[in-house]
């Protein structure tokens, strides 16, 4: 038998050990991303279909007037790009939470939860990992979009990065919170319909809000309440090196609320896993 030592570990963890744990969780998410190529392909194809087909059709119908951050008339392809970036992150956030429900059903989740690191640290590491994956997907999309002729400043890849991190965290945290509320995988399809589609359509992704306001004040009101709208606007402005303060504040606050909610939901004492009255998760 080997000599795996039985010395008692020193109490507490060093910063180096925290980083090892974070790196491990990100590495696993990366491996999952590499192993599931079809996820990557569909994550890329989905927004490209919108860009190539939907945007081509809408180009002639929808005139986009000069609204910030644009300083000139823009083509519909340019307008819709930030919405499609946010869509990639929305799908990724939901997919990552779907994998958490799957992991919970399969039992993999337990190995994460019995790690001695604080629960909040494990969940935030998981959020950072899924956000990183979503940013890789966004960059892949942006490269194709630029080749297609979407007009972006040369530094857009850099200026948009902080916004992508924040929006990725917001949508990942939303997914994580949802995953704690969902008992079984079968229930997840409904949530996708009730979350992804309303969030995407009732936002500024496909049409400027002033157009929405002209046709329906009620829908406009819903769009203004939708945090996804602010995520899109944060991305839209930052692509052009500008900062939308209101969007930044809303996204930051909502990210914090969702993250705290998810951490509470996965806390064994207050956890909804127990409160629902089911057997061992």
């Amino acid at each position: 038998m080997s000599d795996l030592t039985l010395d008692a570990p020193a109490p507490g963890f060093t910063i180096g050990q925290y980083l090892i744990c974070l790196r491990g969780i990100m590495w696993r998410e990366g491996l999952r991303f590499v192993h599931q190529r079809e996820h990557f392909v569909s994550a890329l194809v989905r927004p490209l279909v919108w860009l190539f087909i939907f945007a081509a059709g809408f180009r002639q119908i929808l005139g986009v007037s000069i609204i910030p951050p644009y300083e000139t008339y823009v083509l519909y392809e340019d307008y819709v790009t930030p919405g499609l970036i946010a869509m990639i992150q929305l799908f990724n956030g939901m997919q990552s939470s779907l994998s958490m429900v799957y992991d919970r059903e399969m039992g993999n989740m337990r190995m994460l939860l019995v790690s001695p690191f604080p629960r909040w640290f494990l969940l935030i590491s998981k959020l950072l990992a899924s956000t990183t994956v979503s940013i890789l997907q966004v960059f892949a999309f942006l490269i194709v979009a630029t080749l297609w002729g979407v007009d972006l400043p040369p530094w857009a890849f850099l200026t948009v990065l902080p916004a992508l991190v924040l929006v990725g965290l917001m949508l990942g945290a939303l997914g994580m919170l949802l995953s704690s509320l969902i008992k079984q995988l079968e229930n997840f399809a409904g949530v996708m319909n009730f979350v992804i589609f309303p969030m995407f359509f009732a936002s500024s992704a496909l049409y400027p809000l002033w157009l929405v306001q002209q046709s329906s004040p009620v829908v406009y009101f819903v769009c203004r309440l939708n945090p996804f709208t602010y995520g899109i606007e944060l991305i839209r402005f930052s692509l052009y090196g500008k900062l939308n303060i209101v969007a930044l504040i809303v996204v930051a606050v909502v990210t914090t609320v969702f993250t705290v909610g998810a951490i509470l939901a996965y806390d064994p004492a207050r956890g909804l896993l127990v409160r629902r009255g089911g057997g061992p998760a």
């Binding site: 039985l6 570990p9 744990c21 491990g24 039992g107 004492a269 998760a281």
Partner: protein, 248 residues
Amino acid sequence: MTAALSVEGVSHAYGTRRVLNDVSLTVPQGQFTAVLGLNGAGKTTLLSLITRLFDTQSGTISVLGYRIDRQPGEALRRLGVVFQARTLDMDLSVMENLLFHASLHGIGGREARRRATEALTDVDMADRARDKARNLSGGQMRRVEIARALLHAPRLLVLDEPTVGLDIASKLAIVTHVRALVRDRGVGVLWTTHLLDEIEPSDHLLVLHKGRSMARGIVSDVVATAGVDTLRAAFASLTEGAGEREAA
């Protein structure tokens, strides 16, 4: 010497359904302790509480003297666990599964790889390190899970019905390996089961029935106290007796 695991007066309910009622248990270091009970006795709930998947509602649980509710990190890093359900990531290789687990305990780099290789050698799985977990047999997966549970060198190993669904040879290999861990490394083991043939006369035992502790102590003492010759007879008299008392 501090007990590897100490469970005192633990009760637990899912809503109004009470599944554990005032259960106490001690796993001394370097001893094999079995929790014997039928399906639904509360064994898996007890393990979920020990591993802090659920919070303790009443009573206390300590691992090597660290309370799981007050110092969960210190308790969990001294604990290795093999759940009843399969918990390997099927898309990752055996080695990747182990390295991921090592990182969850703050062990990385060469040290993680060294420990993983040693742990796999111990369970005769070193030659399968590069294989995807999904290509392993049930018995091989269990052995990898045991190797993984020991990577961070815990003093307490808990296993929830680890031999369920395995063939006789795999089952024997696992029982033999875990008993060697107790004997040679002084690991305290908590082993839940409903199979009487996995328990030896010198083991510590807790008989759990419908969430209640029916008997506790060295197996031979439990059998003698019940006034019978075998553990099978003792278990039958303890659990049937409980049924009658409940009926009365």
